[in-house]
């Protein structure tokens, strides 16, 4: 089973025969003991610390289809080393574009994304409602908004509904979280701890979706809900909508309520709050645990991980685009 490697420590990554070799370097420039990682076990690399590498390494990673994602000190996603597309399928590309160009066809898919997202959001709220939180107001409000999705006549209208759902949902965060307040969504920069976690988590989810899309024939820049290819791999944003409530928000509730991430894990400044390395590590640990959790899939009749659900979403979308079966978004059923 291939694994994601998160690199927090600065150091040098190189190719040693057919293995990856990582030499950590400490603050005074001293080299530590090298660590060897067999290439077969690597699915991708996430670089949070500074990484020293040469083109021989990237050639090697590229040949093995391994992406490297980079993040700056402020935990922003800055870009990826995205190896050459190895799954080109002209037919899929053309159909994917055709579904985008037709306003009616595009809207059908976009609505499915918002429906899936709002269903999973409601599921989160119901879970906490059953655990004694008073969320009736939010459930009702979001239910009402979700009912409007079907009637949206264009993408901006749909985006508006989606925005209102998110806004109401974030209002409920203050009732779910025990010791932290969200006080509305703030980004670029996040103004409190919860917002810092939401930004970081959403970015992790986006990157995960991008990775899964890479290993399918879908083109990550041709999207349906979001505008295509505008600075981002926008299809990853589309698919992330469905999984953010399940993967990111649930992890945030867990790490904060269980105190796995605490105020000391944030760097709190006057006009921004960012996660410290300890906070990132704690969040990623919980996030990874979530990704590797398995469920018995209802149509596949076998156990699959949450991470694999993202790839299955890509398959279902591919089938819709190839006119094999209409796309239904993943809705958490337990």
């Amino acid at each position: 089973m291939k694994k994601t490697y998160y690199l927090f420590n600065p150091g040098r990554m190189s190719r040693k025969d057919n293995t990856l070799k990582f030499i950590p370097v400490d603050e005074s420039g001293r080299e530590g003991t090298p660590k060897y990682i067999p290439i077969e076990g690597v699915s991708d690399l996430y670089c949070f610390g500074s990484l020293d590498a040469n083109s021989a390494l990237y050639n090697f990673l590229g040949k093995n289809g391994i992406s490297v994602h980079f993040f700056d000190y402020y935990e922003h996603y800055t870009g990826s080393f995205y190896p050459k597309e190895y799954l080109l399928a002209g037919k899929m590309q053309i159909e994917q574009t055709r579904y985008h160009l037709s306003a009616a066809k595009r809207l059908v898919i976009a609505k499915k994304f918002v429906q899936g997202a709002s269903f999973n959001i409601l599921k989160n709220l119901k879970y906490y409602q059953n655990r004694g939180r008073d969320l009736g107001y939010y459930l009702e409000k979001i239910d009402g908004l979700a009912a409007q999705i079907e009637n949206a006549s264009d993408i901006p209208g749909l985006m508006g509904i989606e925005g209102n759902i998110r806004q109401s949902y974030y209002g409920a965060f203050d009732h779910i979280l025990k010791d932290h307040a969200m006080e509305g969504r703030s980004k670029q920069p996040p103004l409190n701890e919860v917002n810092a976690l939401v930004s970081f988590g959403n970015m992790m989810c986006y990157t995960l979706c991008l990775d899964q899309i890479y290993h399918t024939q879908l083109n990550p820049t041709i999207s349906y809900l979001h505008e295509p290819g505008y600075r981002r791999y926008s299809l990853a944003l589309d698919i992330a909508e469905i999984f953010k409530p399940i993967l990111v928000d649930r992890t945030i509730f867990r790490v904060l309520n269980k105190k796995e991430v605490q105020s000391k894990d944030f760097d709190i400044q006057v006009n921004k709050v960012i996660l410290k390395e300890s906070g990132k590590k704690a969040f990623i640990r919980a996030f990874e645990e979530r990704l590797n959790e398995t469920i018995k899939h209802r149509t596949l009749k076998k156990h699959v991980s949450y991470k694999h659900l993202v790839k299955l979403e890509c398959y279902k979308l591919s089938k819709h685009i190839l006119n094999i079966a209409p796309y239904e978004p993943f809705k958490i059923w337990w």
């Binding site: 290993h215 024939q217 596949l300 790839k311 094999i324």
Partner: protein, 170 residues
């Protein structure tokens, strides 16, 4: 259209897989079973790469060809879809003949099962292969992907997750 041995083999396993494969929707990279088969093919006979030649023409690639005895060696993991394997090597024999190499034969090898099977060119095979080629072209040119046919081999297929992924909305 360029027809490879894989097309012929898939014609005899699953038309849906053939259509998807031919349209670039490939899944082999996701499968541990495929990786295992590849490993068996590459490592079962250590000396082979030196002794035999790799042949490629008309879009067909034969991994091990014994030039002296004119024998194609095709290594497979199991004989679950033996019919497909036979069709595939017969297609190779056809391509060889078309390129002036007559009277070649083939051996299907299943090292894990310690079995081998000889395949020879027989009377009527030419018509058979031509009908395979027609069938492949016809399926590939279909506008829509052939519908799902549930088979016992589905579970081991690298397209399983693709074909069976769905939402149970009953």
């Amino acid at each position: 259209m360029n027809i490879t041995g894989t097309h012929i083999a898939y014609l005899h396993t699953c038309h849906r897989k053939l259509w998807l494969f031919a349209h670039g929707i490939q899944m082999e990279h996701t499968s541990d079973i495929v990786a295992e088969g590849k490993l068996i093919g590459e490592t079962s006979y250590g000396e082979r790469a030196r002794k035999y030649t790799e042949l490629a023409f008309d879009g067909v690639k034969i991994d091990f060809y014994d030039v002296k005895n004119k024998v194609i060696h095709e290594v497979k993991k199991t004989d679950k879809v033996e019919k497909a394997h036979i069709a595939q090597v017969k297609y190779y024999l056809y391509v060889l003949a078309k390129n002036g190499i007559d009277e070649a034969t083939a051996i299907l090898e299943y090292p894990k099962m310690k079995q081998r099977q000889a395949v020879e060119w027989e009377e009527g095979d030419e018509e058979l292969i031509l009908s395979y080629i027609r069938e492949v072209s016809q399926i590939v040119q279909q506008q829509d992907c052939p519908s799902l046919v549930k088979l016992s081999i589905c579970k081991k297929c690298s397209y399983y997750d693709f074909c069976y992924a769905g939402e149970d909305i009953g």
